[in-house]
């Protein structure tokens, strides 16, 4: 730049431009700041992982892998095993998926394929609202409305009809694994259904038209033309819902009854990994107890990361290829 200015005769325009100075420093600085902020997302994930590992060193060293297979949770004698919470997390998530997946796919099918246009906007807005309600409000509603409803109307029927499986046996307090599963199902429904809808809309119209042209009914068109093409994406959205269910805290902590036991009956009180942290962390006084709870947090962190990565990859695999196929 300097070489050019000395050799060239100075015109007013060039003089003006030179007086403003070069913006390359400002540009580079701006670029670096933006890059730094983007990289900070990495930093945050790494920092979380590091903090969790450092703070749970005590129990990581003391119990090792036995922590995850031991079923004793005895803070007084400093004997910790996370198995009841792992079991609780898995079972409550499973119950919620069993309840939510058929409904979510049903809603998605209705909204994308059957619903009149005028109704579609309202209904999809309502399901989005369901996703915007805070967890604690779900919990409040579950304690005062859902649990009494389950206790008086639904649980007795389940005990009578399905009591022989051993999954629904008295005593029934209303609160417990099943109540947690129901409230979780309500909470993960909007996620699964909105993503399923997205994936289903990504299926090109030519597929639908081809199946219809062969004389298929609307349901056959949906089954063969849409659902079959979208199945990978639907699985992805279900796994994403699972990721949310695994980590959901407040509503579950409020209705599951927090008892560190493994029982076959779904109506018995239990605890999940997230709920035990929420319920016991503030009262955990000694270091080992706190470290045990943080280690549960670490396990939850790793599991949800794996589940989310899996889901994202599946959803991406479907929706990324979609625009190319429609064109």
């Amino acid at each position: 730049m300097a070489a050019v200015t000395t050799s060239a005769p100075s015109s007013p325009i060039r003089a003006f431009l030179q007086s403003r100075g070069s913006s390359s420093i400002a540009d580079a600085t701006f670029r670096w700041i933006m890059l730094l902020c983007a990289l900070s997302i990495f930093g945050i994930v790494a920092l979380i992982a590091n903090e969790l590992v450092m703070s749970s060193k005590l129990t990581l060293a003391k119990f090792g892998l036995k922590f995850f297979v031991g079923s004793a949770w005895d803070p007084v004698n400093e004997n910790f095993g996370a198995l009841p919470f792992i079991y609780g997390t898995l079972v409550s998530s499973l119950v919620s998926l069993v309840l939510a997946v058929p409904l979510a796919v049903g809603v998605a099918v209705f909204l994308t394929e059957m619903c009149p246009k005028a109704l579609r906007g309202i209904l999809s807005f309502l399901t989005e609202l369901l996703a915007a309600i805070p967890s604690v409000v779900y919990g409040l509603w579950a304690i005062f409305v859902l649990v009494p409803l389950l206790r008086t109307y639904i649980d007795p029927v389940l005990i009578k009809l399905l009591g022989w499986t051993g999954l629904f046996t008295a005593p029934d307090f209303g609160i417990g694994m099943f109540a947690a599963g129901v409230i979780l199902a309500i909470m993960i429904l909007p996620i699964i259904s909105s993503l399923t809808r997205e994936v289903m809309s990504a299926v090109p119209y030519s597929q639908r038209e081809a199946v219809l042209a062969l004389g298929a009914t609307r349901w056959e068109m949906i089954r063969m033309g849409v659902l079959r093409n979208a199945r990978i994406g639907i699985v992805g959205s279900i796994i994403l819902g699972l990721g949310r269910a695994l980590g959901e805290t407040m509503a579950v902590a409020m209705v599951i009854g927090s008892s560190p036991t493994i029982s076959k009956s779904l109506l018995a009180p239990a605890a999940t990994m997230a709920s035990v942290i929420a319920n016991e962390f503030a009262e955990a006084s000694d270091d080992t107890y706190r470290s045990a709870l943080i280690e549960i947090g670490l396990a939850l962190f790793l599991v949800t990361i794996v589940v989310n990565m899996l889901a994202r990859l599946l959803v991406w695999a479907v929706t990324r290829g979609a625009p190319a196929r429609t064109a």
């Binding site: 400002a26 540009d27 969790l52 809603v107 915007a132 409000v137 949310r244 962190f301 589940v307």
Partner: protein, 307 residues
């Protein structure tokens, strides 16, 4: 003989055809039935999904509105057994926490979005960053609380509003970043080229031209993140901790609306239950208003005017 055989064959053909006709009629009826069954089931599923939403709103309005009065917005919680407490300190506390969270989360989120859309378009690094943001979005909020506890509360030797704000702010970054990116990608190239052609420095054109054009969408993303974080309780339990008294100091425990709802919901007192419902109603109205606003802005095509 041959004739008979042919007759028999024809008979067979006839019965075959009859059978086929019959089975095709049956088949048609069956297909008609499954088609309609599927429709009915889909409608039923939709009703079943909308039902809890309606139930929650009816309950909130019914139980919450009756306890909403001036005291609720102006008084701090009354001791157990006394009438007339409010949640003023929790409302102010939530505002402080959300202020800290926004101050941290929104600039960092927007900056990350600018990088993803303007510099890192199509590069491997930006793909990885985008993926990490999505993963960070899925990390349970309670884990965020535990991490911030270890990161800030332990070294500072005490629960604080600052720690709560940081926990919420971190949760805002991925949402804000991803929406900013998506909105910036919608800005047409001609606008950037026009700015650069006038000799505007690159960074200036991004801030005053590209970002400004995408502003309605970016604000939408910020509000969505804000609404999501406003209702979070789990990361606050052992960072902000809650407070029964007035406090706006950043280095002291602070009350928050969702936290107060949680404590009151689990308490054995009717008066506190009523306050919990009222608090939930206030929280929901806040969130629904912001979400509806966002939807209004995005569907009314404010962005379309820009492009």
């Amino acid at each position: 003989m041959g004739c008979d055989a042919r007759r028999a064959g024809e008979d067979g053909l006839a019965t075959d055809m009859e059978k086929q006709l019959k089975s095709s009629a049956l088949n048609r009826r069956w297909r008609w039935f499954t088609n309609h069954l599927a429709t009915v089931l889909a409608i039923l599923a939709t009703i079943l999904v909308i039902a809890p939403l309606v139930a929650i709103f009816i309950n909130l309005v019914y139980k919450g509105a009756s306890s909403l009065n001036l005291n609720f917005f102006t008084k701090i919680p009354a001791p157990v057994g006394e009438e007339g407490g409010g949640m003023a300190n929790a409302i102010v506390g939530s505002a402080v926490l959300l202020g800290v969270a926004s101050a941290l989360g929104i600039p960092m989120g927007i900056a990350a979005g600018i990088y993803l859309a303007e510099y890192g378009r199509g590069t491997k690094l930006s793909n990885v960053v985008r993926f990490t943001a999505d993963v960070l979005n899925g990390v349970p909020s309670i884990v965020m609380g535990v991490a911030v506890y270890a990161l800030i509360v332990v070294p500072m030797k005490g629960y604080s509003a600052f720690a709560g704000g940081v926990a919420l702010g971190i949760m805002m970054i991925p949402t804000v970043g991803r929406t900013t990116e998506e909105m910036l990608l919608m800005v047409p190239h001609s606008i950037r080229e026009a700015a650069l052609g006038l000799g505007v420095p690159n960074w200036r054109s991004m801030v005053s031209i590209t970002l400004k054009t995408a502003m309605p969408g970016v604000i939408t993303g910020c509000m969505l993140a804000f609404a999501r974080v406003a209702g979070e309780t789990a990361p606050l339990i052992f960072t902000a901790f809650g407070n029964q008294f007035w406090s706006t100091a950043l280095n002291q425990p602070i009350a928050a609306l969702p936290l107060q709802i949680y404590v009151y919901a689990l308490s054995p007192y009717d008066e506190w239950h009523r306050l919990a419902w009222a608090g939930s109603l206030v929280l929901i109205v806040l969130i629904v208003v912001s979400v509806s606003l966002v939807r209004y802005v995005t569907t009314r095509g404010v962005l379309k005017g820009a492009s």
